[in-house]
Amino acid sequence: MSNIEEKISEAKKLALQITRETEEDRLMTLSVGPQHPGSGHFRFVIKVDGDYIVYVDPDPGYVHRGHEKMCEYRNHFQNIPHLERPVIHDSCNITYSYSLAVEDLVGITVPRRGQFIRALASELSRLSYTLYWLAIYGIFLGHSTMFMWPAGDRELLIDLLERLTGARITNAFSIPGGVRCDIPNNFKEKCLAQVNYFEKRLKEYEDIFFNNPLLRQRTEGVGILTKEDAIKLGVTGSVLRASGVPFDVRKVEPYDVYNEIDFQVQYMKTCDSFARAYVPLLDMRESCHIIRQLIDKMPESGDVREKLQFNIKSSPGETYKRVESGRGALGYHVVSDGSPKPYRVKASVGSFRNLLALPFLLTGSKLGDMPAIYWSLNYWPVEADR
């Protein structure tokens, strides 16, 4: 960082001497988003000095719908379908966390088979989200094939989720007490076949995208977020793991059946944009292993959900439960006052926490590095706005 800043300040001084302009005259303010093709539902105002970005101000909130407030008006079951809206591609994870919190408040445990199915849906959902994210990372760097391939392969996982839950993306599958329904016939075989095929495809992604010398030239050593800075900024998920902190909620605080699953926390120590793009790929490989183990260890029969009455009353109190979503730790802080409706729900989402790294990394980088840094942060604007 400091090296780049010195370079910028030297270049500025030199340029000011030649042109005799004031500093403000040299800066050009660009509004990136919300109609910009490289921003998503999000805006950040940047000021560029030549090709260097010298000032960044994120401005989220274009898709804010106040679902923390909405939660206070509905009971726990009614909350599930609208809680998954922020990340419909990762819907099984974002409802997972809320379900865990409610189960903790009510004081029940989910039947074992239900726990396995819930974890299975969560892994499928994570894979589908990561593929979507990877597709957009590809097109942001101008690699159109990398846009189409993951988006096409995601369809396989969407099909699986559709067989499992009945809906393509807005699943509303994990509810307080377990999952909504049992797995259909022949699902295990189909799931294993798709996952085996998908693992082969991951190798091809590596060949066409991650081993491409032009991509490496573009992303390696770009947007370095050192371990100290990552900890200081409190980032999470793949951004944190790419900075060398092996933190994965599934491992450090196993929920449901994850303490019976054997998997590694994938992390890299290069801290750059490439690592932040590569760690999700490694995660996808681990997810494939996890899915195999889940299918292997799943009990053959049993209940999938603890039957709760619709207006279930929880004991007064509060809880904070988190799961590992596609974007990192996703926690729900639920306060209950004993009525069927939660008193206060606060979602601590990975996107919102990773957003803080955006101004930190973009300041001092080149304009051409903007998409490589911005989308490597695993930032999902809709989730951050909630």
Binding site: I139, G142, T145, N212, L214, L215, K366, G368, M370
Partner: protein, 433 residues
Amino acid sequence: MGSLTPDFRFGNFVGSIVWLVFVVLALVTLLILPIIFFVLFYVPLPEVDGEVLTPYLFFSMMVDPSRTLPVVQFFIHTDLFRAAIFPGFGFAALIAAATIFIERKLLAKMQLRVGPLYAGKVEGIFQLLADGLKLLTKEIIVPSGSDKPIFWLAPIMFVSTAAAVVALIPVADGWVVADVSVGLIAAFAILGFFPLIALLFSWSSNSKYPFIGGLRALHQMIAFEIPFFLSALPVVILSSSLNLTEIARSQNLFMNIFILPINAFVFFISSLAELERIPFDLPEAESEIVAGWLTETTGMLYGLIQLGSYLKLYALAGLFVVLFLGGWSGPQIFPPELIPGAHDSNLPLLQMLALDGLYNPVTVNSIFWFMIKTIIVILLMLIIRGINPRIRIDILLHTGWYKLIVLTFINLFIVLMLIYGGVIGPGGLISIR
């Protein structure tokens, strides 16, 4: 496929057709026929084979094969035909259209999708037509703060400049629009206009993203123009001529690419950069600067610039073929007559099909080989788009200024050594002439 609207009535449909026919008839009687008569009254008709080309003669030529060919031949040898249709604009535009279609289909196959499918029933072959019609019917929005004359003029300048490069490319011996003795220099000079047009257009749009895109285009094209020229220099030394026809003709023994592989590579990379194609499409990088210098284009202005850039793609592929792949040289595979003994036959239809007087086996063979080589080069340029990401501006400038320029000199020195060693060149062991 589509469904009828709820208030559809067959009577309305028939009525609209009758109304349309009535309008057409009225237009023809009131407007078109008088114009034709005025024209026929004042304009002297041309003379073909000692006869005045009256409408009667013209129509009789269309049915009588013995009278057909002179008209076509007369037309083919005019400069207008060359500039507008065959080696010039029309031909190049057709190739450009085919290139766009093939690019979309090829890219789609690489990316496991189907590409254009519905327009034209068969694999979407009329997709381009549909896109063109759509672009034509769209409103052209001119930004309020823009410099309007330049804003309107720049897309047209872009297309005409691209067409001017096309005019210099010979597709066969003698088949070139402008056979100038400094053809290569002229081609480079005309290509040098493109960054200026991009900058003018981006500046006249009075918008931020186009401005950055225009500056990027300027940087990129200037950085790559020098290796572009330098890579063509050994070709000129080898063939001792700047005329593109001469350069192509001088390679009838072997192609330049066998002596100059590095230069051919540099030329290829530089032409990708000149064309602003991936991985060098920085001036239009959509995730950084929206659409670069094309951000404010709408409707047909955008269509014209796309047409121009694909014309340019054809022109640069053709230039690559002429400079390095021996132009139109290739084994003679076409027979001396299209249908042997047909022009001696009594059957008029067979006489027509023989294309006697039009069919020249050497020219057709040349055009065939030129087309094959050009299409291969174009395909190479297209495939790169499917497998590479965009690179960054500083890496791009570094590549242009430091790496490619140095690479061109290596091959230049090799050629000079071979010439002074008496291996190639005039009077060498392997004489080109």
